[in-house]
Structure formats: structure tokens, C-alpha cells
């Protein structure tokens, strides 16, 4: 860093990060999978794969499919469950100086509450990301994320169970994302993750079967970036809690777009599959932009969109 006054460090929703770049849930496993390529200590934060109260086997195959500038996935939240996570996965991440944000999902409010209590009691959890937007049809997650009342109820409940920073992850599959955003903020969320995947579908025209066993799945990658940016900007103009922007971020320049639209931090998802160093490359790209424009921190950028 040429300029000593420049710093990428940010505190978002009470999460202190060395830089504003997180890994998006479900695209970075539990961190250990990337240590051959990345020093986890250099990440802004690690957001782990969605956790449920009990282990889930997940959906049958096929689970992913590539689409133009994007991919569909219907994993079905295969995960070790909250106990398995705390016992087997969390300790390893304790070896690193990086905030661990745990993405949680459930079918009923009670499930979310149970997971929250266990995580609140566990060591090494920096924040909880409430996944109310899992596009997987068999998962209750989505139905919460499209209804402001359910969102309010769920977020309130979880809020009461923990003092940890609480992020709520919003679904793009809604008519008006600002309504859900306002509900989450009102119910005590410390920050909002915008966006989860867009519900999509693809068909094998020769077998006439869906390309995903689950029929529909979540669309991610550059294809959804314009939709994600629009939603970040809408949410930024609605709430006063910070936004973690995500959706198709591949480069530092992509991240800068999200910051200008209103994101205080960003998450890199699908890009991790193409470039294992994507998250660090994005952070470097942000720094170069700040240098090029003589800025001291991304705070100068957040929500700086000049509208006609």
C-alpha cells in the first residue's frame, strides 16, 4: 500500500474486517478447501455454507447447470448440521484471524432459533447471516424472504436469541425488495445481504427433462449482476443499516459498482469456482481503484451514485 493513510479496513454491522470482501455462503465451503490458494487471514470475512439444525442430505443429482454468464444450482442445503459444524468445522477456522459469519437456514422459526442459540454459545462466530431466501423449493427459507410479516417475526425471534451481529440475506425473487428490507431492519437486523440467487430453470431438449433434479434452481454469476445492483441501490435508498452487496462480482471493478450503488461490503460467490483467488483479487482491485482515484477508504464510495 503506497499511501499509508489508505485503508481497506471496514466495520460493517459490527463486524470488523481487514477489507470489505467476504466469501459468499455456499461458494467457499468452510474455508479449509481454499487454503492451498488463499491465506484466509487476508479475507474480509468467511461466510460459511448454510447450516441447518440437523444434517441435511441435500437434493439428488443433477444439482448444477451452466447458463449464459451464469449457473443454476439446487444443492438442497446439504450440510453437517449446526452441531457438526460447531464440532468439526468451526475449530479449524479458529486458527485464522478472520471473522466467521455463519449462514443459517431452517423450515420453521423454531429451527432458526435453535441454531442461533447454539451459535451464540459457540466460540469463534463473528456474526450470523439469516438465509431467508434459499430458492430451493423444499426449504422454508424462501417463503420467509418473500413475506414482510414472516420476515419480521423471524428476525425478531432470532434477534432476541443473540447479541451477535445479525445479517439478513434477501431474496431477489420479490416484487418490492424494499418492503422486506424495511421489515428486516425494523425487526433488528444489523445489516442486509443483497442478493441471494434468482429462481431459474433449464431444460434438456433431448430428454425433455429439467437440467436440475429439483426442476428449478438458483441463478448466480455475472448474468444477475444488473438485477443485484438495482436491488442494492433500491435497498440503500430505503434502510439505514449497512448492505453487503453480491451477485455476479468477478472483479474489483464489479465490487466498486456495488459500493457506488450503496454496498458497504461485498461478497464473492460463483467467482470462487472459476478463480480460487477471486476474493483476494477483488480486494486488490478495490485498492487499485481507491489509489487511482486518490480515495482513503471505500466509505467515500458507498452510495455515491450521482443521479441525474
Amino acid at each position: 500500500m503506497s499511501d499509508i493513510h489508505r485503508s481497506l479496513a471496514v466495520n460493517v454491522a459490527g463486524i470488523q474486517m481487514k477489507n470489505p470482501v467476504m466469501t459468499a455462503s455456499g461458494t467457499f465451503g468452510y474455508g479449509s478447501e481454499y487454503v492451498d490458494f488463499i491465506d484466509l487471514n487476508q479475507l474480509g470475512a468467511v461466510v460459511v455454507k448454510g447450516i441447518t439444525s440437523v444434517p441435511w442430505v441435500g437434493n439428488s443429482m443433477p444439482r448444477i447447470f451452466e447458463t449464459p454468464s451464469g449457473m443454476l444450482n439446487a444443492i438442497g442445503l446439504q450440510n453437517v448440521g449446526v452441531d457438526g459444524f460447531i464440532d468439526k468445522k468451526l475449530p479449524y477456522l479458529g486458527n485464522f484471524d478472520v471473522p466467521v459469519i455463519v449462514n443459517i437456514c431452517g423450515e420453521h422459526v423454531e429451527e432458526y432459533l435453535e441454531i442461533t442459540e447454539k451459535l451464540d454459545a459457540a466460540d469463534g462466530v463473528a456474526a450470523i447471516e439469516l438465509n431467508i431466501s434459499c430458492p430451493n423449493l423444499h426449504c422454508g427459507g424462501m417463503s420467509f424472504g418473500v413475506d414482510p410479516k414472516l420476515t419480521d417475526e423471524l428476525v425478531r425471534g432470532v434477534r432476541e436469541k443473540t447479541t451477535l451481529p445479525l445479517l439478513v440475506k434477501l431474496s431477489p425473487n420479490v416484487t418490492d425488495i424494499t418492503v422486506i428490507a424495511r421489515a428486516a431492519e425494523g425487526a433488528g437486523a444489523d445489516g442486509l445481504s443483497v442478493i441471494n440467487t434468482a429462481l431459474g430453470m433449464a431444460i434438456d431438449i433431448n430428454t425433455r427433462r429439467p437440467q436440475l433434479a429439483n426442476i428449478t434452481g438458483g441463478l448466480s454469476g455475472p448474468a444477475i449482476k444488473p438485477i443485484a445492483l438495482r436491488m442494492v441501490w433500491q435497498v440503500y435508498n430505503t434502510v439505514s443499516i449497512p448492505i453487503i452487496g453480491m451477485g455476479g462480482i468477478m472483479t474489483g471493478d464489479d465490487a466498486i459498482e456495488f459500493c457506488i450503488a450503496g454496498a458497504s461490503a461485498v461478497a464473492v460467490g460463483t467467482a470462487n469456482f472459476i478463480n480460487p483467488r477471486a476474493a483476494l483479487d477483488v480486494a486488490d482491485g478495490i485498492e487499485e481503484y481507491l489509489e487511482r482515484h486518490g480515495m482513503r477508504s471505500i466509505a467515500e464510495l458507498v452510495g455515491s451514485l450521482e443521479v441525474p
Binding site: 461458494t27 478447501e33 490458494f37 443429482m61 448444477i64 454468464s69 451464469g70 469456482f273
Partner: protein
Amino acid sequence: MLTPAKKFDLPTEVISNELVAENHYLLRCSCPEIAASALPGQFIHVLIPQGSGLLLRRPFTVYTVEGDQITMLYQLIGEGTNVLSSLKWGDSIRVLGPLGNTFEMSSTPNPAIIVGGGAGIASLMLLAAALREAGVWALGLVGSMNQARLLSVEDLKAIGVETHIATDDGSIGHHGFVTELLTHILETHELPNPIIYACGPDGMLRAVTKVGLDYHIPTQLAMENRMGCALGVCLGCVCKVQLPGGGFEYQRVCTEGPVFKAEDIIW
């Protein structure tokens, strides 16, 4: 199976990329790190050059290792392999690997039967070489659509693998399935505790599995599935695996696999 060696994501340049059979290409590039550590059955995840419009990488088994160089033998399937086939000397690609587990080679030199269908044989060549180096007698059964698409027979013979051929149209070798060859061999030869290693289309792998069970021969399959990360995080590449205690689990072809015990796979 061995704990995986360190993984690398390396930029490299295409040394050669030639048509070796109808619809099939052999690509050679220099990857000292991967060449030094790739084990039989392991694969690489290839980033097709920028501007190709493809998002995800494409997985291919390491076909051969020669000094610092590795080769991959691939079939034209769709857009990705089509772009790959257009690459020329000096074009750059990125290669992630070595990935996945490896074939289990028994300590005792039991005879090996290698069964490859179509491009599946590509996943068995490194194994064949390792077996021969270990002085193991190996039989190669190569199935193909027709003579024009026949792969690897010369390469197998060159390393001393007795090779038999089956083609769908009978244009060369046995007219029929490679699994028919397999049963024929088992009926006519007396092989002391052989081991079957197979890779190919699902239908063939299921048939091979059945033969293995019928003849009580331990069988290992190299599985394929669509892949996202190839690093174990996206859970997109799983296959359904029988658990010892009963019940099943979805295991990752990129991490627990690509090699699985045939009897464990639930189709």
C-alpha cells in the same frame, strides 16, 4: 486412498493439441508442479481462455505425465471442448490440480482388468502405466462406437498392456459391448484375484458393476458429473453412495471421488 497433495492453479501454454481420433483431441501442456504430483485417476480443472464466453471450468483426467508435461485426451461434447479443440500452440489456459482421489492399487500384484468406454479410457491410462511400472499384469478392454473413434489402444500396447477391442458397429474387434468382452475373458481365463478398474458411460459402468458382483471381483469406478468448483465447496458434483451402516450419502466426485468402489454407488 491417499490424502491429496497440494493443489495448484497455474497459467500454462498449449504445447500441442491434435486430433487423435474422430471427435477426440490430445492436448499437451507444461505443468511441472502437477506433473510431479498427479496420481492415477486424478484430474485437472481447466479454465477455457478469457473471452470464450464460458463461465465454469471443465474437468479432465490427466492422461499421461511426461517429465514436466501433462496431456489430456478429450472428446468433443459441447461448447467448452469445442473451444478447447480450437486452441493452438502458445495459447494460454489455466489448469487447477491435481484434484480428487486416486485408484487403489493393492499391495499384492493382482492382475488388473482395465475397462474403458469411449473417452473413459482417458481416465485409466495413468493407472495402466503405474500398474505396469509396478510389474502388474494388466489387460485392457477398450470399447468404442467404431474404429474411427477408437482411443488409446496403441498407447496401452506400448506399455505392455494386452488389449482387446469392442465396437458398437463391429468395424473392429468384438461387435458389441465391452462388458461382453469382460465376461468372455472372465469365462475363458483363470485370473488369480483380479481387480477391475472402469470408466465410461453410466450404462457401461452399471454393467461392469454387475459383472464385478457376479464374479466377486473388487471393482473401482472413475465417476463423472458436472462440476462447479472441483474443490469440494459447491456440492454440485455429488453421486449417491451407500453407507456401511446402511442408508446413503451424497459424496463429491471432485473430492471423495472421482474413484469409488463399484458396490458403493447407488444408481
